[in-house]
Amino acid sequence: MTWETVIGLEIHVQLATKTKIFSGASTAFGAEPNTQACAVDLGLPGVLPVVNEEAINKAIMFGLGIDAEINKVNVFERKNYFYPDLPKGYQTTQLEKPIVGAGNVEITLKDGSTKTVRIHHAHLEEDAGKSLHEDYHGMSGIDLNRAGTPLIEIVTEPDMRNAEEAVAFAKKLHSIVTTLGICDGDMSQGSMRFDVNVSVRLKGQEELGTRTETKNLNSFKFMEAAILKEVERQIDLIEDDGKVIQETRLYNGDTGEARSMRSKEEANDYRYFPCPDLLPVVIEDSRLERLRSQLPEMPDAKKARFVSDFDLSEVDAEILSGDQATAAFFEAAAKTSGDAKLASNWVLGEVSKSLNASNIEIAESPVSADMLAGLIARIKDNTISGKIAKQVFEALWNGEGKDADEVIEKKGLKQVTDTGAIEAMIDEVLTANAQQVENYRAAPPEKRGKMIGFFVGQAMKASKGKANPGMVNQILKKKLDS
C-alpha cells in the first residue's frame, strides 16, 4: 500500500511590538516574573482593553506581504476556557472576522521545484502566560509577563504532502515575517511556534484521514522529526488494523519522544462570542495605503533580482535572499567588491562555515561586508591567491587586523613577483638540496621534467605559498639547466 501524508500548519507569530496587544505593559523578553503584567493583563475586575495600533499595523503588513485579503472590519471574540496562565478565563482572539483573509505562499524545494501553499486566514490574538511546573511545595508557579503579548495565528490549508514541504514552508514564513520586521524570528525564545496537523490516506483517495495535532514545535529540526515520527506511527497503526484518533500530541525535541496530550472527544467547548469590551476594528484605506508603501522588498522579489542582476543560480539566490541580514551582507559585499560571484561564494562558503562554527548570527560577524569586499578586491587584482585569501579571512575573523590590506602587509602575504627575491630563495633551496641537484643534472633531459617538481615544491614552501609559481618554474629551469 502506498500512503500519502497530508499536512496543515498553524503558526503562532509573536509580533515585535513594545507593548501588549490590550495594555501598555512592556513585552521585553527576560524580565523578572510578573514585573510586566499589569492589571489588564491579570484580568482584574473593572479593567478595559485598549487595542495597540502597532499590533494592527503589523498584522496588516503580514497580509499585504503575502498578497492576502485584508478584512477592513474585523472583530475580537472571547474563547472561553480555564487555565491558570489565562487569568481572565478567556483568550481574546478572532474567529468569524479575522484581520487577514486568504492568501498564498510559494515555497522552493530542494530539487528546485516550486509549490504554492494556500493560507486560509491569519487572526490576531493575545498570548497566555507561562506555567512553571517545578515543585513549589506541590504547587505550580505562574508568570504572566507573556500574557497579552500580541500574536498572529496563521492557518494554512492542508496543502503540504511531506515533512520537507512543511519545513520549506516554515522557513519561508520565517523569512517573510523577519523581512517584514513584524517578528524578531527568534524561535528559541518562542517568537514562532508551530502546530502541525498530520493525517495519512491511501494514495489516490479523496477523503482525508483522521488528523492529529502536534503542538508548540519551536525549531525546524524538531518539526521535521515530529512529522516523520507521527506519519510512521499513523501508518503502523492503520496497517495493524488500528485507528487514528483525533487528538492533541506533544513532541519532546530533546528526547525525541511523542505522547498524547488530550483527545478531542473530551475537547473543550470554547463558547466563542464577540468581546463586548472591544468594538469592531475598522481599517481605513489610508492606513492600508500607507502600510503598503512601507513594505520592504519581499524574499521572492529579492531572489528574482539576485538571479537577474547578479547572475546567481536559483539555489544560491534562494539561500541568500531567505534571510534579511544575509541578503544585505551579500549585496553590500557584491557591490563594494564589484564581483557578485566571488561575494556569493564567500558568503555561502567561508562566512557561513565560520558563523556556524562560532554559533553566531551574520549581524555579529567579526568580518564585515566591507572587509570581505576588500579581501575579494585583493584576490581580483592578484595581490593574493585564493588559497592565501583563506588565511587572510581567518586572520580577519580572529581580529588580527582592521582590513585585508593590513593583514596582508603585517603577515607579509603579498604574492612575491620580485625576480631578485625569488632568485635568492631558489639559491637557498638549491644549496640545501645539493644531492638532488646533482641527481637532476645527471639525469637524461626527458626525466628532468618530472624531477623539477621537487624543487618547485621546496621553493613554494620556502616562500610560504607567496611566490608567483610561474616565475619560480622559469627561474629554476634556468638555474638547473645552466
Binding site: 507593548t19 495594555s23 501598555g24 510578573n34 508557579g141 508568570d143 468594538l279
Partner: protein, 95 residues
C-alpha cells in the same frame, strides 16, 4: 428551545459555576424561558440587516505603542493567596 438538566450541568461545569443539584431543574426552566424569548426574536425577518458585533455603532479606538505601565508587582500580588519568587502559586497543573 428548551434546555435540559444535563446541559445545565455541562454549561455550569464549563463556566466553573457551582449549581446545587436541587437548583438544576429550576435553572433549566428559567434559562429555557429566556431561550423561548430568543426563539421569538428569531422569527423577525432580518434579511436586510447587517449582523452586529457590538450594540454600539462605533469603531475601536487604537492606542499608540508606548509603554505606560510600570512594574507594580508588589501591589498587584498583595491580594494573591500564595506567591513565591515573584510567581503566583496555584494548585499543581498537570497536563
Amino acid at each position: 428551545m428548551a434546555i435540559d438538566a444535563s446541559e445545565i450541568q455541562k454549561v455550569a461545569h464549563l463556566a466553573r459555576l457551582s449549581i446545587d443539584d436541587s437548583q438544576v431543574e429550576n435553572t433549566a426552566n428559567t434559562i429555557s424561558r429566556i431561550l423561548e424569548l430568543v426563539d421569538q426574536m428569531q422569527t423577525v425577518n432580518t434579511d436586510n440587516v447587517e449582523p452586529m458585533a457590538h450594540p454600539l455603532d462605533a469603531t475601536q479606538r487604537l492606542r499608540e505603542d508606548v509603554v505606560s505601565e510600570e512594574n507594580n508587582r508588589e501591589q498587584l500580588q498583595s491580594c494573591a493567596p500564595a506567591v513565591e519568587d515573584g510567581l503566583f502559586l496555584v494548585p499543581k497543573v498537570i497536563e
